[in-house]
Amino acid sequence: MSLLRVFPDGAAPVVSGTLGGMTDAYLRRLDATLAGPRRARRDLLREVADHLEDATEAYVAAGYDEPAAAALARRDFGTVAEVAPGLQATLGVAAARRSLLLFVLACVPQAFLWDGGLALAQTAHSEAPDTLVYRLLDALVEQGGFVALLVAVAGLVLTGIGQRWVRPAPWMLRTVSASTLTAAVLVIVTGVTMTAMSNGAEPLLWLELALLMVLPLALVARSARAAYAAA
């Protein structure tokens, strides 16, 4: 017997047999209740579907007919209202981790791209103005960015092996996600402002800025916003 299948594209699990309509509806309700990274959600729902399939089979082997067996399997698993908060918590952690990882990946190359290494601003014949505001923004993006990176790495540890000691509460995940969103937006605004203040910024520099800073950090901001909602 194989009642349950999960579409590989991440859609809700569906029932391939004819007797699992209620289980299918249960899985769809659960899917609609959960929010979080698509792959993690699909993985979780697939595991739930596998569990319900195994439990249904066990009840059938014990002598129940299939509809009764499926109903008992769902009853044992718990109602959507009972199990969704726990499952959502795991997705909230996964979403926060994803946005933190994206933030680290987007920020680590920035110093290499703009200051040292490639020094794209100089390559595009841009000259940093000698003004207090520019120097403040430069310090903000360098030192503030470094601190934000350290905090992001700490967040990754907290939501990883840190769970041995601390169970991330929803407010912690919301704080992490809001901080990630704020940091990403701040880096974008600071980078754009500094480029606008630079003398002789060429279109090439704006293009590089858009592709290498604004776009990746905009994706981080979007991911952090979704993580906030999933927490």
Partner: protein
């Protein structure tokens, strides 16, 4: 035994069940039920968040593998999971000794 009474102990119970070898989610729940003589009464859906949390903490490893001809997510106790289980056992022995001393009949 109701879910409330198990709060705080579920992680250790899962680690103990996996000490004997890798299992998938349903088999873990079956093993919990069998080893407790059916006394553990909790919505089985609450076990999966605990499994994910233990995996994120590094106490469990998981992979999709074939079990009885089907693909199932299978969990394995990691080295850190074994250490955590040993620590939980020691703490439990201390706890039961202390509480037992207090609850025991007056002599």
């Amino acid at each position: 035994m109701k879910a409330d009474a198990l709060r705080g102990h579920l992680d250790a119970l899962i680690l103990a069940v996996l000490e004997r070898g890798p299992l998938h989610g349903y088999a873990i729940i079956e093993a919990l039920a069998a080893r407790s003589g059916g006394a553990l009464d909790l919505p089985t859906g609450t076990v999966y968040p605990a499994l994910r949390r233990l995996e994120a903490a590094g106490h469990l490893d998981s992979s999709w593998s074939d079990a009885s001809g089907r693909r199932r997510r299978t969990y394995t106790l990691s080295r850190s999971g074994r250490k955590a289980l040993a620590a939980e056992r020691a703490a439990w022995v201390d706890f039961t000794r202390v509480v037992g001393d207090v609850l025991g009949p007056a002599t």
